[in-house]
Amino acid sequence: MKISFNVNKMGYYGDFGGAYIPEMMYSNIEELRSKYLDICSEKKFQSEFNELLKQYVGRPTPLYFAERLSKKYNTKIYLKREDLCHTGAHKINNTIGQILLAKRLGKSRIIAETGAGQHGVATATVCALMGIKCIVYMGEVDISRQAPNVARMKMLGAEVKPAISGSKTLKDATNEAIRDWINNPVDTHYIIGSVVGPHPYPDMVARFQSVIGDEVKKQLKELEGTKKPSYVIACVGGGSNAAGLFYPYLDDEKVKIICVEAAGKGIDTGMSAATSILGKEGIIHGAKTLLMQSTDGQITEPYSISAGLDYPGVGPMHANLFRTKRGEFISITDKEAMEWGLSLSRLEGIIPAIETSHAFAVLDKKKFKKDDILVFNCSGRGDKDLDTYIDYFKL
């Protein structure tokens, strides 16, 4: 039998995944696990989801042929324009799905974690849309780094609670959100923002994001006469935009997968987020996956100039893509990513999020053939990163 790179019935991708959770979370996770597939396949759920994606998010997003970029690199380059989604990134595909799910589960209170604030904003947005109470946990350090997104969440009516434990960043915000859920197991749904956490989260989030890859298939067929690009390429922090683009291609090995991680200041500098190289198998936030940790098993703090990529683990799907070599992993430094932010702006008139900029830097790392078709996930726009770009380039 052919091996699948998608999740199995037990919630594993190869060796990775599962639900390593305290008993206090069991009833919530079990409720989700036993219901998510049925709910998501309901006709009414699907039509509501698709309608919101169309009318509210602005889907389908264009698959844009980047002519000048293609010319420069002598290959065919397409950008999947997730940066054009409402709130500025792919994150909202997942929050729309999960808020509809939460409503069907009868939940009246939403919690979320956020690093840079993108997922927090996407969650606050759908909660405002549905009139549901929203609490977003955010590391104290990130709150001070990402003031505009904090303000956006507040404008949308969400309460932003600082995570003051540990390193006061994304992983700690996630811990605090999990604790909140343990304390409020009955009325609350936890909207995780990436393909991380205990099963069924990685699969559920991947499914909600798979609209990205599904659209690419249709659009590429119209543009190139084939559903299959030669490569699908995306940046990976936790991995949700990558999972969404790769999803329909996971088991089609003719389509090559490239995951781009943040090398930060360099792999060997101690200031990096390249989990595939620096990580070891372990357990973080309820999933077995690759994560950055000390030899003693303490989780270490990653670093990247882009707040969306500095998570100490990757989703279990990606850990499996790495281990099985189904995906090629390339790491890109802060400097390379920042320069690509500028290059894409000048070549195509698109200012990307710094996370997204990492993906494009692959063009300098790898030789592609003239008739290769490359699809990049242009996962987010750079508005939120203007301060960082201003500082870096002294604009």
Binding site: G18, P22, Y26, S27, R179, P185, G282, H285, G297, I299
Partner: protein, 254 residues
């Protein structure tokens, strides 16, 4: 017979105390165990500190962060416990999260536990299902009991399964809450205690989370075989001398 089972069979109103190894100072482990053994305590839970303790409240997380800064780690803990059985016969349980144990090597960990005289484990993020399928034989081989948690949300069916797999006590989480979060037990909690007692489980029950003084301790032992205190003891250690541990225990016993 395992020391934990012996205590469970012979004693009532069991008091089990948790502390974080390496807190307040790196080398306090042995001193704290000795002082607790001298006082009216029946079991000791030694916390192996973890950077991201999901199921614990702020007090225990803070003590873990300090312990890690002090240099505590798995290897070190076993060195500190090397001669502990020359000094005390009290049941010793290690409470720790699964990742540090996984990195140390589960088999090596179980063997080291047995070597120094540890009697059992509480690993909150190793669910009973995974334990039963994958790790139980290792624990059995090294004579280690494994204790599981139940909460007010745990279904009767799952409680029965946990009871079946358990060979020590069942750790009954008092409320929907992380450690250290409550001060007194209400009507709902007492009903939950009663409901569980009516199930006639084979395992003995110890109540933990939110027990901080003699009145919550009393409530707990009225409804179970004993109680576990963690955060309140960590708070005590923050402000008092190790030699005064006996006074803390007296206050709890009332």
């Amino acid at each position: 017979m395992n020391r934990i089972n012996k205590v469970l069979e012979t004693k009532k109103n069991i008091l089990s105390i948790y502390f974080t190894a390496g807190y307040p100072n790196l080398d306090d482990t042995e001193k704290i165990i000795n002082e607790l053994s001298k006082s009216d305590v029946d079991m000791i839970e030694i916390g192996l500190p973890f950077s991201d303790p999901l199921a614990d409240g702020p007090t225990i997380q803070k003590s873990s962060t300090i312990a890690l800064k002090n240099g505590m780690n798995t290897e070190n803990l076993f060195v500190q416990l090397k001669n502990i059985r020359n000094k005390t016969n009290i049941p010793l349980i290690i409470m720790g999260y699964f990742n540090p144990i996984l990195q140390f090597g589960v088999e090596k960990f179980c063997k080291s536990c047995n070597d120094v005289g540890i009697d059992g484990m509480i690993i909150p993020d190793l669910p009973v299902d995974i334990y039963e399928k994958k790790y139980k034989p290792l624990f059995d081989k090294h004579g280690l009991l494994n204790m599981f948690l139940i909460t007010p949300q745990t279904s009767d069916k799952r409680i029965k399964f946990i009871d079946k797999v358990s060979n020590g006590f069942i750790y009954m989480v008092s409320s929907f809450s992380i450690t250290g979060a409550v001060n007194s037990f209400g009507f709902e909690q007492k009903n939950y205690f009663k409901r569980i007692n009516k199930m006639n489980l084979k395992s003995k029950l110890l109540i933990g989370f939110g027990i901080s003084n003699s009145s919550t301790f009393k409530d707990a032992i009225e409804n179970s075989n004993g109680a576990i205190i963690g955060s309140a003891f960590i708070n005590f250690l923050k402000e008092n001398k190790i030699e005064d541990i006996g006074k803390f225990v007296q206050l709890i016993r009332g």
